[in-house]
């Protein structure tokens, strides 16, 4: 069914029970992603954007656990198109056969730190080959050729030699390219990119973003792009979800987020960042306070202690629910209730 989203996360809760208390890393996240779309997830440290991604892939580290919610993912048909059979990933066992056939093949992940995401003792080629052999019906020779093909596609020069190198022999940009080659080797329908360019220099970032855009055009996968950088979001995303302390506070098409933001946090965030186009030595408008400690979550709307539009008696008592305020535009804020 063409109109159905590729991925639909409903009311997801992922908690980490620890001696000091429970960290509600993801506390009621709702997200929708369409086929071929690029959903940018933006938020500061501790907002739960990475845990959301890890929950979708069912690779949340212990003691983290999905305690509530649904993650509906539409599995592709044999010809690669998005099929109409949806599975609730939250209900699958993390090590079940079905989850393993999805993870890495239909949903792939690229991490922020390419240095620590490759094994230091196996050649990058062997690691890509392993991924191909696991999910595809090819022999080792075929997988080897495919790995070289993928490295060439992501712009690694002389891939025949690079395929036998260890990850520390590559530069940061090349490692991230190899990471992308590995992630895309099984033609996923959803690529989750968790801060893919944060560890890279800005000119290398341009190369990698350009590469991701080009590969998306060729392969037609959807990309969930997780970052704290609003510039990268504006550059890449078709839709944006803004997260704060475990919740999506606003989701909208990219133009609405940047030009008609509704949530006070989104607005404040956009005002606070230094811009290339602003004149030098012009004062910034910061957001008061800082992100609360995860054990110390505010009651009610998580943003209320820092919010310029705080309404006493409402925001500090109840938690706002997502409201539709425009086309594909939802906000969780009492200003709109």
């Amino acid at each position: 069914m063409a109109g159905e989203p590729l991925l639909s996360v409903r009311n997801l809760h992922t908690y980490f029970a620890q001696d000091e208390g429970t960290v509600k890393a993801v506390d009621g996240v709702n997200l929708e992603m369409n086929v071929r779309a690029t959903l940018g997830i933006v938020g500061e440290s501790g907002c739960g954007k990475s845990v959301t991604a890890r929950s979708i892939l069912r690779i949340v580290d212990r003691p983290g656990r999905i305690v509530d919610g649904e993650i509906w993912f539409r599995r592709p048909t044999a010809d690669g198109g998005a099929g109409d059979r949806a599975v609730d990933l939250a209900k699958l066992a993390p090590n079940s056969e079905e989850m393993r056939s999805i993870r890495g093949a239909e949903i792939a992940l690229i991490f922020q730190e390419p240095m620590s995401s490759f094994s230091p003792v196996h050649s990058i080629g062997n690691q890509i080959i392993e991924a191909i052999l696991l999910h595809q019906d090819v022999d080792r020779r075929g997988a080897h050729d495919k790995a070289i093909d993928m490295l060439r596609r992501v712009g690694v020069s002389s891939p025949e030699q690079r395929v036998d190198q260890l990850s520390h022999q590559l530069s940061g940009g090349l490692r991230q390219r190899a990471m992308i080659a590995m992630a895309l080797s099984c033609s996923p329908t959803l690529l989750i990119a968790d801060e893919p360019t944060t560890a890279l220099d800005v000119t290398t970032q341009t190369q990698i973003l350009e590469l991701m855009r080009q590969l998306q055009q060729e392969d037609g996968m959807a990309i969930m792009l997780i970052t704290h950088d609003l510039g990268v979001i504006a550059e890449m995303a078709t839709d944006v979800a803004v997260m704060y302390l475990g919740r999506v506070v606003e989701q909208a098409p990219v133009d609405a987020i940047f030009h008609a933001p509704k949530h006070p946090y989104t607005r404040a965030l956009l005002r606070s960042i230094p811009r290339m186009r602003s004149r030098s030595r012009e004062r910034l408008t910061p957001i008061a306070g800082s992100v609360p400690h995860p054990y110390d979550r505010p009651v009610g709307c998580p943003f209320h202690p820092r919010c310029p539009d705080f309404m006493p008696g409402t925001c500090d008592r109840q938690t706002p629910n997502p409201r539709t305020v425009g086309e594909l535009h939802t906000v969780s804020c009492f200003l709109y209730e």
Partner: protein, 341 residues
């Protein structure tokens, strides 16, 4: 224009600064070559001014900063600093014992507020330590001074008996700033002071650095890779590439009409937080040159979209092409490069 027209000498003048790290190989650890981390860097900073030093990782910006503070010893070059009494000394040639009394005039703010503060020291000890080292023996006096410093950086003095772990990243960076300001320095070297902070907190710290500069007439050398942050804080900007400054000028001029193709590429690479201005990026090919075996001629030529034959063979001269605007590019006068609007 900056304060360059005042009659006094600049607070800091660096010329021909060089730092080579030996590359050793084999059983006998023989030196087989050198990493030219900083290779002939020169600039000046006037009192009360902020010079932004930008470049990508490995370009030598941090090494330059550390050489100036003599956290490491430069291989060559001169670092002239004008002291409070008006005399000018070459920091590069002083011995450690001669340097110690001068250290209070120059302080550093570090990137990572999580690792740069000793977790076993209270705020009072952290901020008061430099006071003690430089002779403020009375504990009461120190407490008063620390309380005052904490207030200046926006922290409550009641917290002075707490340990750093009780504070957020932004608050820790404030502690680091209070510590750096304890001795009333004149030169503050800030090495990526906001890049480890959350976006919403960056603005607080940048505004604070700004206010403190006005209040205490501080001079900043601001090392960063984030160009939008550098634009916000700096009067003038120096762009480094593989150990050399390739362009230096007034912030507005450098951002709006860059003269070096590398500066133009860097500026265009920063994604603007506005989906309506997407695209038109200069995508540089290849990677930053290895400072242990840099290319011939202009170090940027293998990646430069405007390179011609002379760029491959001759090192460009770093020269002034308009007042206060210096560029190291053979084609600086003929190229028209786009900056930010």
């Amino acid at each position: 224009m900056s304060a360059a027209t005042t009659a006094t000498a600049p607070l800091l003048r660096v010329s021909g600064l060089q730092k080579l790290f030996p590359v050793r190989k084999g059983f006998l650890k023989r030196t087989v070559g050198h990493v030219r981390a900083v290779d002939g860097v020169g600039f000046h900073i006037d009192e009360g001014e902020t010079l932004g030093l930008v470049g990508e990782s490995g370009c030598g910006k941090t090494t330059t900063a550390r050489c100036i503070l003599r956290a490491i010893d430069p291989t060559g070059g001169e670092i002239f600093m004008r002291l409070a009494d008006g005399s000018v000394v070459d920091l590069g040639t002083l011995r450690e014992s001669e340097l110690r009394p001068l250290r209070r005039e120059m302080q550093m703010i570090f990137q990572d507020p999580f690792t740069s503060l000793n977790p076993r020291m209270t705020l009072l000890d952290l901020v008061g330590e430099p006071l003690l080292v430089h002779g403020m023996k009375s504990r009461r006096e120190r407490e008063e001074r620390v309380a005052d410093l904490l207030r200046r950086v926006g922290l409550r003095p009641e917290y002075m008996r707490r340990f750093p772990h009780a504070f957020s990243g932004g608050e820790r960076q404030r502690i680091g700033i209070a510590r750096a300001l304890a001795l009333q320095p004149r030169l503050v070297v800030a090495d990526e002071p906001v890049s480890a902070l959350d976006v919403s907190v960056q603005a607080q710290i940048l505004n604070l650095l700004f206010d403190l500069q006005e209040e205490f007439r501080l001079t900043y050398l601001f090392v960063a890779h984030d160009l939008s942050v550098v634009r916000y804080i700096s009067n003038r900007v120096a762009v480094m590439y593989v150990g050399r400054i390739v362009e230096l000028g007034e912030t507005e001029e450098l951002f709006t009409s860059p003269k070096h193709p590398y500066t133009a590429a860097l500026l265009s690479a920063v994604p603007e937080p506005d989906p309506r201005v997407r695209g038109k990026r200069i995508v540089l090919q290849g990677e930053v040159a290895n400072p242990a075996s840099p290319p011939s001629g202009c170090y940027f030529h293998p990646r430069c979209p405007h390179a011609i034959e002379v760029c491959r063979t001759q090192t460009p001269v770093f020269q002034e092409i308009s007042p206060g605007h210096l560029v190291g590019c053979h084609r600086a006068r003929e190229l028209t490069l786009a900056g930010v609007e």
